[in-house]
């Protein structure tokens, strides 16, 4: 157990599965889904809503 507060749960926006989040996440924070690994943005907290984070543009040159 890592915190005194209750764990947070939310729906994974891609698979619809329930996922657990750290208790101290904040709106706007980017966390990764434990199911898909995708980076998700915390849109709201009550209820917890997650959205796929805009992908880092990572062009490795041409």
């Amino acid at each position: 157990m890592t915190t005194d507060t209750d764990p947070l749960f939310a729906e994974d926006p891609i698979t619809g599965e329930e996922i657990e989040l750290p208790a101290d996440v904040e709106v706007g924070e980017i966390i990764d889904s434990p199911v898909t690994g995708t980076e998700l943005e915390v849109i709201s907290l009550d209820p917890v809503v997650l959205e796929e984070a805009p992908e880092l543009e990572e062009d490795w040159g041409e």
């Binding site: 891609i14 990764d32 199911v35 898909t36 690994g37 995708t38 980076e39 992908e55 880092l56």
Partner: protein, 365 residues
């Protein structure tokens, strides 16, 4: 038989089963997959290796060939004098096992063959893709080792045929699409572009696999007509356009499958198909566009382990699904798959002996 009390034995509770010890032998112990079998079995709680054979290193210690096994107190002995065991693993070049299979099945209760000799379901396929078959009567009896697609037929099997490494990578990548109806025999061209490490060639070597010539390559080594096409067709029910490249790594096989579904699919559909197929599989992971450095399947991420990674991406126009699949050819692609299958066949915990999760960072594994 020392291995009384397998899960296939109704008298044996599962909890107890894992305390049994099965004797095992490895034919072809100096080879790459033979060494890998010895490594896995030596660390397996339910196996005791009693024999490892070699013609060229007869009476030498196993550690002389495989430096990681220097701690193993075992010497090679001749394949001509096989000791009776519970499970015989054979890791010889194609053609050897089919000649000796009668003897093998007499020597052991369970035979697990890593070569191509019993992989294909029909003798005709051996005529077409190989040089025929000398013991076709065993083909029906043999069970394909890959639990992800043949788990239900493995318990109690007495002849198990390990998959080919490139075929394994491909089948693991495409099977969920086939099961979900996204892909079928009528779908149109499926291109499978494979990249493999040098250990696929076995310990034998040759001019093309010497370090100076083999380092740093991207070398088309099977441009077309690779025999694993037959195996893929046999287990997926569809034909693929298959090309294999050698790249600069020692372990690893990576298949990139380019699929053009007839109906458009969404990312959600794909996640559904792959989660449905693999969410409960102990060795399969879906890695598909995650953050950080390792966003898709990579051989590095699974090197030394029995894990398989699969992932996918959609073309902007949704007309193409690209599926990535990565395994270690020496474990998931051969020796690990063989032990996994033996675990299932004997009713042992599936992950027994296969718990190693790999290293990070790791170079060219």
């Amino acid at each position: 038989m020392t291995g009384e009390g397998t899960a296939a034995d109704p008298d044996s509770p599962v909890g107890e089963a894992t305390t049994e010890t099965y004797t095992a032998s490895v034919i072809g112990g100096t080879g790459f997959t033979g060494g890998e079998l010895l490594r896995i079995l030596a660390g397996h709680p339910s196996f005791e290796v009693v024999q490892a054979t070699s013609r060229s290193a007869d009476n030498m210690t196993v550690g002389r060939s495989h430096p990681n096994l220097r701690g193993l107190d075992l010497r090679f002995s001749s394949p001509e004098e096989l000791e009776p065991v519970d499970v015989l693993f054979s890791a010889t070049p194609h053609g050897v096992s089919m000649e000796r299979i009668d003897e093998y099945v007499e020597t052991a209760d369970t035979v697990v063959d890593l070569s191509a000799d019993f992989r294909l379901p029909e003798a005709a396929l051996y005529d077409e893709w190989y040089d025929g078959h000398s013991a076709p009567e065993y083909l029906e009896r043999a069970e394909y080792a890959l639990p992800e697609i043949n788990r239900e037929n493995l318990p109690g099997a007495d002849l198990i045929a390990g998959g080919g490494c490139n075929a394994t990578a491909t089948i693991l990548g495409l099977k969920p699409l086939v099961d979900a109806g996204v892909l079928g025999p009528e779908t149109g061209e499926v291109v499978v572009d494979v990249k493999v490490g040098s250990s696929e060639g076995g310990a034998g070597g040759g001019a093309a696999s010497s370090h100076p010539e083999r380092s740093g390559v991207v070398r088309p080594y099977a441009p077309t007509g690779h025999r694993h096409e037959a195996e893929i067709e046999a287990y997926l029910g569809l034909s693929v356009s298959f090309t294999v490249h050698a790249v600069d790594m020692v372990r690893g096989a990576s298949a990139t499958c380019h699929v053009f579904p007839e109906e458009p699919v969404s990312k959600g559909d794909l996640w559904g198909a792959y989660r449905g197929a693999y969410a409960d599989e102990p060795f399969m992971r879906i890695v598909s566009g995650s953050g950080g450095v390792y966003r898709y399947p990579e051989p590095k991420s699974v090197a030394g382990t029995n894990h398989g990674e699969v992932g996918f991406e959609l073309d902007p126009g949704n007309r193409r699904v690209v599926v990535f699949s990565a395994i270690d050819n020496m474990t998931k692609g051969s020796a690990g798959q063989a032990v996994h299958a033996a675990n299932v066949a004997l009713g042992l915990p599936e992950t027994a002996g296969l718990e190693f999760d790999g290293l990070h960072p790791v170079g060219s594994p």
